[in-house]
């Protein structure tokens, strides 16, 4: 309830002195600084965020664009959001969630023009994402968490799918695996040009070729029964498969069941590795899954630091655009059984 005027009065200084003492854009004598601090203490004064915003033209609010997603929301996504909130709060910003349909940019225009937020983090980037044009035209700072090939010059941060896939395949090859099946997400996501699906598809294809691995890829829904059905088909079509690479957390139980049902054991007969995954998703499976875990901390740190630099008009060295996943080796992987 106390305002800056009250503080100024109690400290026996002017309001601008109080303002500068708190925000520190010009030097204040120690005596007055102290007086201000005391008054602030006594009155329990906190600057009103709104008034400050109106005067300064900065709201200190960042929006995270999160559309309802085809493939269903997963554990990594929520971790990303929580991490983003924690990160921006540590920098005295706030995070608002905007749940909007990707294909209806009008609503986004409305929201932006309210000028409630200083910047935007865009998640779930699709190919030719229409939201990008909106953001750009509005002239608001934004960062893509993901990429859009149609806007290669935009600032973005993304998982390094290629490196992750490469590390994964090289590692599996070293373990003796030559026949590898990659379980991607749904064909629908692929057709929609959903970044992770497209990029892992391309990486897998290319790397199998250059590494001389006999690889097959399957697109897969996240429905347990459906996955299980497909597993029989896969084993029939790809005899001698010794390893599964999975970028589809929700297909994991079905895959494990499918393997078991063939009378095969993990990892003795078949290795399974979950990629671009979350520690949580993998740790409660049986057996505990080896995985390439998304490096959420670095992803978010890079995103937020860069966005805020843009907002504040500072230049910073672009940290890292592409963040690889981290290998966590647990019980679901091992050497290939007799190199076929």
């Amino acid at each position: 309830m106390a305002t800056i005027k009250d503080v100024a009065a109690m400290a026996g200084v002017s309001v601008s002195t109080v303002s500068y003492a708190l925000n520190g854009n010009r030097s204040i004598s120690e005596r007055k600084k102290l007086a201000v601090k005391e008054a602030v203490q006594k009155l329990g004064y906190r600057p009103r965020a709104i008034a400050r915003s109106l005067a300064s033209g900065r709201t200190h609010i960042i929006a995270i664009l999160f559309p309802p997603v085809d493939h269903g929301i997963g554990l990594p996504e929520i971790d990303l959001i929580m991490e983003a909130s924690k990160n921006v709060m540590s920098r005295a910003y706030h995070l608002v969630i905007w749940t909007l349909q990707t294909n209806n940019p009008d609503e986004l225009v409305q929201l932006i023009s309210q000028e409630l937020v200083d910047g935007v983090i865009m998640m779930e980037v699709h190919r030719k994402d229409r939201r990008i044009a909106v953001l750009r035209k509005a002239g608001i700072p934004f960062i893509l968490l993901g990429r859009d090939d149609a806007a290669p010059d935009e600032t973005y941060i993304d998982v390094d799918f290629f490196t992750t896939m490469m590390q994964c395949l090289v590692w599996l090859k070293k373990l003796g695996h030559r026949r590898i099946v990659f379980i991607n997400q749904s064909r629908k996501s692929f057709k929609n040009g959903y970044g992770p699906v497209v990029r892992t598809h391309e990486s897998f294809t290319e790397l199998c070729h250059s590494l001389e691995i006999s690889g097959r890829e399957y697109f897969c829904e996240s429905n347990g029964e459906a996955v299980l059905g497909k597993m029989e088909e896969i084993f029939a079509a790809c005899p001698g498969t010794t390893a599964f690479v999975v970028m589809n957390d929700k297909a994991l139980p079905g895959i494990i069941s499918g393997v078991m049902r063939q009378g095969l054991s993990i990892p003795k007969d078949v290795s399974i590795v979950s990629i671009v995954s979350s520690a949580a998703a993998a740790s409660y499976m049986v057996p505990r899954l080896s995985l390439f875990e998304m490096n959420i901390g670095r992803l978010i740190e890079a995103t937020v630091s860069q966005l805020i630099a843009k907002i504040e008009g500072r230049y910073i060295e672009i940290p890292e655009r592409l963040v690889p996943c981290i290998l966590r080796e647990y019980q679901s992987t091992g050497p290939a059984r007799n190199g076929a």
Copy 2:
């Protein structure tokens, strides 16, 4: 970029006329109303959220308090947050996420006193939650999504754990189950007084007694291997068990594996039902699990409508404090094998 002044100028009226024409607190002649609308169109005018807030004393922002949680964040939580965001946006509000430690109310005080938000939704309510006192003292409208026995008079919305457990046990009994094991969340959560864990514990105990069911409860970590280990212990200690009730999504894979490993099949020998769960979590298990799904839509609708009523000083009939879950019957449940 256009302001209300520009609109007023173009429409040939005063700013107050524009303001009233848009917010409609007093009657304006049709002619002027039209002129204003046209000018708004032409200029693409949108009221600046911040300026409006400063003048009106309302920010139209709601915070959702979401601490890092012991039991690990799950699918239902993220659904809750997304649904909350969608819901408030449909009412022209914004949702900010505040990730704060439960046990450090100071930071909450800081945030509240910035007066950035009109109201607060509190998730993950614990027994004697210290945040409640902070909110109350600040005099800010808030709703608990969950309950605290120490503050029974507070406005809250919660899952109806008792009814859910009752419906579940009655249903299982009708299917012939008499020996039922309840897998709750971790003992640590129980000791911390985490609402869902405490309430289901009490409900289960009481209902087993009154329904004459032989019930045993186990607290369980969300680590696949740990769960699996415990399953052997459970089968040894509770021979003849025909049904598992589980309020621990992340223990499900371990439970399913444990059952299989006993050479038992689901649901022929053993039924499994996941309670207070999310459709997603259950649908990708194999077999697809029957569940009592959290009614997230109703939970959030009740929470938000009530909170906004408080904020706007309107009185509304309190909708429903307790929302039961919805039974979805799939492949993991069936009649008990020869009623022991």
